[in-house]
Amino acid sequence: MEKTLTINGKKVSFDKEKNLLEVIRKANIELPTFCYHSELSTYGACRLCLVNVEKRGLVPACSTPAEDGMVVVTNSNEIRELRKIIVELLLANHDRECTSCHKSEHCQLQTLARRLGIQSVRYKKIVKDTPKDFSTPSIVRDPNKCVLCGDCVRFCEEIQTVGAIDFSFRGSHATVSPSFGKSLASSECIYCGQCTRVCPTGALTIKSDVTRVWNALGNKDKKVIVAIAPAVRAAIGEAFGIAKESGTEAAGKMVTALKAMGFFKVFDVSFTADLTIVEEANEFVERFTKGEKLPQFTSCCPAWIKFTEQYYPDMIKNLSSCMSPQGMFGSLAKEMLPKMYGIKREDLVVVSVMPCTAKKFEATRPELSKDGIPDTDIVLTTQELARMIEESGLSFANLEQSAFDMPLGFKTGGGVIFGNSGGVAEAVLRNVLSKENSNDMDEFAFIRGEEGIREANLKVGDKDLRLAVVYGLGNARKVIKQIKNKEKEYDLIEVMACPGGCIGGAGQPVYDKLEVRNKRTKCLYENDSVLELHKPQDNPYVQQVYKEILGAVGGEKAHEILHTFHTNRRRITEKPFLIQAATDANCVKVNVCFGTGCMLRGSQKILKSILDFVESKKIADKVEVKASFCFERCSRGPVVSVGTTVIEQATPEKVTKEIEKNLK
């Protein structure tokens, strides 16, 4: 039987909507909210979605299930006044420097204040002057603008399972911060930036590199080139109200805009995405044939890489050693372009435009630099590029289209679909399994989809190729757990941190409705379909680059320029803590790792045996014992250091023997 309820006197039918709020919104009534995101758990903190339900009074619509026969009023003088009070209270202790705020015009607090007709704040202004956190290359945290809706906290915990930030303290002292009030850079933050997307105010924003780019463009000694990531073209139109247009058009307009702004050349990261596929697929075929280091994880997503380095050091070997397309672009550009243009390496400035905040962090990785010069100098997000276009006064909607520069501007559809979840996997399949002369772009379309975990099983000769496509790091954690428990087996796994893949990246124009993401996805697939070629290996310029610079696919030179390495990353930066102090100045210093990996492998037992040994030999004054968090050798734990010797897979015998040796 059809279920109905009455909203403002109108009958509305409903079925499986999660809550009353969803039903009301379906009826085209925009109830205001701060803390409600359909992707996240319901929190019910902001109280803005209060509605009057007959016989119940005022209830928050987000945490009230819809019931048959309910009579709901969403708009009355009482409700409007209450909402006004809530927003005014939030404004009273909010840093209201709107004009210079990064979220200005996208701020929900600003929008709501306008929507609710707030013209003055009746409460006393409380000025908090907490310092901003500029510690990371990707995200800026300004606690003075936080409204404590907890969207960031829940995204980080529920979708990414990182939990780098959380509420601390209580009442009027409550704040959102990393552990112990430290900087974000010293936390486990993976820089996916989704907190900046869901933050309704300017409390979490993307760190802007716009000024650095203008400065580089204004420097006559530098040649500044730029490369645009696949996903950017599908979304930048949204910033200029032309979202209906297809992605190719936005790419062409972007090229025109970037040229007008003074960039020397405009290239396409889709080119190096093609290159990534050729290298990564080659690496995969090798591993697959030998049955080694499987499953192979893709390595394009910098947030996923940091996540693996922090939480799964034992699976680092499973990551593809390929750089990301951005990494490859920077490395290749700095290798080939200075010669081509007859300039010095240090005078070439490589800018990339990314849908991603973690790419800013990736560009700072020391492995992705040469002689102290980073391969990619500056990373702009889609949002920042849109701002630069605005700053330069260009009317984006009316711009003509221009073509990318060659050679690094030519791509196949395989490189373009990188921006979608499943795109990398699909491009790998096109590379590995497509027949020589086939140009069928829909052959592997079964891997496309909206779910966060998708699987496919293919026959390759007499072998099974088991594939998984994952987005959201919580989903990645699930899959890894299944692999470790031997419930599942895969050969190739594509992982992207952001929902929907790069098109849903935090650097893209802020979106709220999930349809926006689907539209971007569709846009990239359409872009693929209008391109001449679809298989990355067919890209003639990729073939040329191998011939002239890189040599063989997967060869020595290709490795030097296109591959990198990943290492364990210290997740916890705490100092070791003293278990037993020694009085002797020349004491033997023993350090037992108590990181998660080592602890599971028995570091507690080892510590106990060391202390028993020290006591039984009566050498307590000569041996100092500390427990530390991570030696970054988790796969070979438990790890104990004695003096300068580091013992892996330590046993009580090995350690005591080493202590005795050191005492002599």
Partner: protein
């Protein structure tokens, strides 16, 4: 050996609670019993042992007034500032103790780690207002002069 004993105890507390993240609060309570406060590195250790983020543990530890992240002194002075004590001028008691021990609202532990001054909302001894508890001993109807003397006596006791 004192640190080892404490650390052993922390591991034991974790084991007794089955390393269950739902038992974070009882674990923190027990650990605070051991250390007298919650040291940062121990909180991080607990987070890693329970497989939850350090930010969550920090959040819980800062939420409850019962938990403290700062080392406390040997003797804990709790002055009641509940309604009854407040109208009986408990603030003069607090001021007198602060002046005597050279403390402020932010710095509530003496440098020699002998005393920590806390204000509490109600000790449930309103009939004795203004009331104060040092360690587990209750002092009723105190005056600035009386508290100064009590503290003087305690310091003398310590010096012996």
């Amino acid at each position: 050996m004192e640190n080892q004993g404490k650390f052993d105890k922390v591991c034991q507390i974790l084991d007794e609670n089955g390393r269950d993240k739902a038992r974070l609060i009882p674990i923190l309570q027990a650990v605070q019993e051991v250390y007298n406060y919650l040291p940062e590195e121990i909180l991080t250790f607990i987070a890693s042992a329970l497989d939850i983020s350090p930010a969550r543990v920090y959040g819980v530890a800062t939420f409850f007034a019962h938990f403290t992240l700062k080392a406390k002194g040997k003797h804990i002075i709790k002055v009641c500032d509940g309604t009854a004590c407040h109208v009986k001028r408990s603030t003069t008691i607090i001021d007198a103790i602060r002046a005597k021990l050279n403390l402020t609202a932010a710095e509530n532990t003496t440098k020699d780690m002998l005393f920590t001054l806390e204000t509490v909302s109600c000790l449930g001894a309103c009939g004795l207002a203004p009331a104060m508890v040092i360690d587990n001993e209750v002092y009723g109807q105190v005056t600035p002069e009386k508290v100064t003397k009590i503290i003087d006596d305690m310091i003398k006791q310590e010096e012996k």
